[in-house]
């Protein structure tokens, strides 16, 4: 049966030798957890279209949430390469699970850390790290996907706080979150500089989250719509250091960074499955691995994965040196997700008719990666971000 043999990763260029002992230890821990806890339950969760909630305590115990934030807030204080390796290994299991950790760490904990007051940090970060609180990130709106600056959710200041109104869409973790980071305009509706972030406990009156049903992708992840109708918040709900559209975009850069690694993980899973299958599947009296067409397929996959691994690693090193610019992150997200889409598809094809069965993983990755291709900046948006970087001219 698929996946019964132990997964040992893909490392053709001894990229392990470029990792520190801690980085490898982090990777191995998460890899083991994915094999032991995630892989055995993911097929059913996906089939039933639900997030496997039972995994949250184990993820928290290992320290997977906000692992690159400082220890004083109950986090592991890892460097960005180790953080990236976590994302790689989680997505080896399933994009939906990586998305869950990504949202909690990069889109909820990170903005509180970067834009929050000391009290907010002390209050929220340890609880989010321990999984006691689950967060979601409300930026995208139904009519403002690639263009968040156009948002129409508003926050009106009152004598004793704020009142929020609006609708957010495509919110991962939305229906089970206990707290939401919601971005809203505090000034003129045309003024993107007035965008500020708010910490909104989801039990606040006027706040509702509703699951998006009928998905053909990321089925093991909850995707929701958030409605805010006259949601009254205290004065200290605002993230004091958030300022303009730049702030949520900084969060997206964090998340995109993780996706650049996640794509590598999904690709490694598909390649590993395809290689094992090719070695065992006999057709015309020999393993299909012995045929030129399949060897070319595998060679192509391995080459692309190796390039993607080096890209992610170099980006991580740059990030640790403070040199990972948003456009550098765009290049890696765009390349690695596209690479993973291709590899998932070719792996599925190598698996032949069996490749459409739920017991194999490649087609699940293939479907998931279509979401990853689109979210956190679509492939096209990243083309245009890079285009702007290269030419100095915005074309969107």
């Amino acid at each position: 049966m698929a996946g019964s043999a132990e997964y040992t990763g893909v490392d053709f260029y001894d990229i392990d030798s470029l990792l520190s002992e801690e980085e490898r230890a982090v990777r191995d821990t998460v890899r083991q957890w994915v094999s032991d806890a995630l892989i055995p339950v993911i097929g059913t969760a996906y089939d039933e279209g639900r997030f496997p909630k039972q995994l949250i305590p184990g993820m928290a115990e290992l320290g997977l949430f906000g692992a690159n934030l400082p220890e004083e807030y109950g986090c592991a204080g890892l460097n960005n390469v180790a953080y990236g390796l976590i994302m790689q290994e989680l997505e080896r299991g399933d994009s939906g699970i990586r998305s869950f950790a990504s949202v909690q760490g990069a889109l909820v904990m990170y903005p509180i850390f970067a834009f929050g007051s000391d009290e907010q940090k002390q209050h929220w970060l340890p609880k989010l790290a321990s999984g006691e609180e689950i967060g979601c990130f409300g930026l995208t709106e139904p009519d403002f996907g690639s263009n968040p600056a156009g948002m129409i959710t508003t926050a009106r200041e009152t004598s004793d706080g704020w009142v929020l109104n609006g609708t957010k869409m495509w919110i991962t973790n939305g229906s089970q979150a206990t707290v939401a980071i919601v971005w809203a305009k505090t000034g003129d509706i045309d003024d993107a500089k007035g965008i500020r972030g708010f910490i909104v406990p989801t039990n606040t009156p006027g706040f509702t989250g509703k699951d998006q049903k009928g998905k053909l992708s990321l089925r093991a992840s909850d995707t929701s719509e958030l409605h805010l109708q006259d949601v009254h918040l205290p004065k200290d709900a605002i993230l004091p250091k958030s300022a303009g559209i730049k702030s949520p975009l900084m969060c997206l850069t964090q998340a995109r960074y993780g996706i650049a690694w996640g794509g590598v993980g999904a690709a490694m899973a598909c390649y590993d499955e395809a290689r094992r299958y090719a070695m065992n599947r006999v057709m015309f009296g020999r393993p299909i691995a012995a045929t030129q067409l399949q060897q070319e397929r595998l060679a192509e996959m391995l080459t692309e994965i190796t390039k993607g691994q080096l890209l992610a690693l170099q980006l991580g090193r740059l990030k640790d040196q403070g040199k990972a610019t948003p456009s550098r992150v765009s290049l890696a997200k765009r390349n690695n997700v596209n690479m993973a889409c291709e590899i998932a598809r070719e792996a599925r094809r190598l698996l032949g008719a069996n490749g459409i069965l739920v017991e194999y993983h490649s087609m699940r990755h293939l479907a998931n990666l279509e979401s990853v291709y689109t979210y956190e900046g679509t492939h096209d948006m990243h083309s245009l971000i890079l285009g702007q970087e290269i030419t100095g001219i915005a074309a969107y």
Binding site: E21, E22, T29, W33, L64, C75, A76, G77, L78, A82
Partner: protein, 249 residues
């Protein structure tokens, strides 16, 4: 309670074994090394016993080349307090290696010394019992259940066709089998904390080894078998083969 856990670094159990040119050891190139799986039961037992007692100290001890420090740090990442690296090359003689460990353990004031039941490389399965003998301490091997209360140790081990219960007093030496517990994974915080925990290095060397490896070789391949048929219809053919060819019925 002060607990020592003696651990080893071994090739991953999924590794393909290649014999080095000299023909007495494996070729380590490309082989992934991991903490000996049985030692993880011992590490988990030590950490859990300390957690249960609320105080005490756990120490991981390894005799081997510098590469064992990575294994020691894995132990620290799991939650062991400090590590001792007895730096040197172990021999093929379990007793000689046991003497090296004893040089550290005898004055360490340990209430409990834990080992894995065996190391999945050499399958020697002897160092723990030998250390107990040299320290003149009670010893139970291959335990699958453990209870420590006051100064008393109660263990259960699996033997052919049953389970054997035994008791002894602290200080004692135990070797741990699968089933004793579910070892925890090192947490990410644990991995970071491991860097800051003490790891003492003491040079050590074996003396008077009485065992020499003559050769190490791959086992003979099993001759190719055959598919006797498909489904339940093949059962008579199988039975015939087992009776008249293999003669095992």
């Amino acid at each position: 309670m002060k607990i020592a856990v003696c651990i080893r670094r071994v090739p991953d159990t999924t590794a393909k074994i290649v014999i080095a040119a000299a023909g007495t050891a494996i070729d380590p190139a490309g082989v992934k090394f991991v903490p000996n799986p049985y030692d993880e039961f011992a590490l988990e037992a030590a950490i859990a016993l300390k957690e249960q007692a609320g105080d005490g100290e756990t120490v991981a001890v390894a005799f081997g080349p510098d590469s064992v420090q990575e294994t020691l740090r894995t132990a620290l990442a799991m939650g062991i307090d400090r590590a001792v690296h007895l730096q040197g090359e172990p021999s093929a003689d379990g007793l000689a290696n046991a003497r090296v460990l004893v040089s550290h353990l005898k004055d360490g004031g340990y209430d409990l010394v834990l080992f894995g039941k065996l190391a999945v490389d050499d399958y020697g399965q002897q160092t723990g019992a030998m250390v107990a003998e040299l320290l003149e301490r009670p010893c139970a091997t291959a335990i699958a259940e453990l209870e420590v209360q006051g100064g008393t140790v109660k263990v259960m081990r699996e033997i052919e066709g049953g389970t054997e219960g035994a008791t002894c007093a602290l200080p004692a030496v135990l070797t741990c089998d699968k089933g004793l517990n579910n070892p925890r994974l090192p947490s990410l915080k644990g991995i970071m904390a491991a860097k800051k925990k003490p790891l003492d290095v003491t040079p050590a060397s074996v003396e008077g080894a009485q065992a020499t490896v003559v050769s190490l070789a791959l086992p003979p391949e099993r001759p190719a078998g055959r598919i006797v048929g498909e489904g339940a219809a093949a059962v008579p053919a199988l039975l015939e083969a087992l009776t008249s060819e293999a003669k095992v019925l």
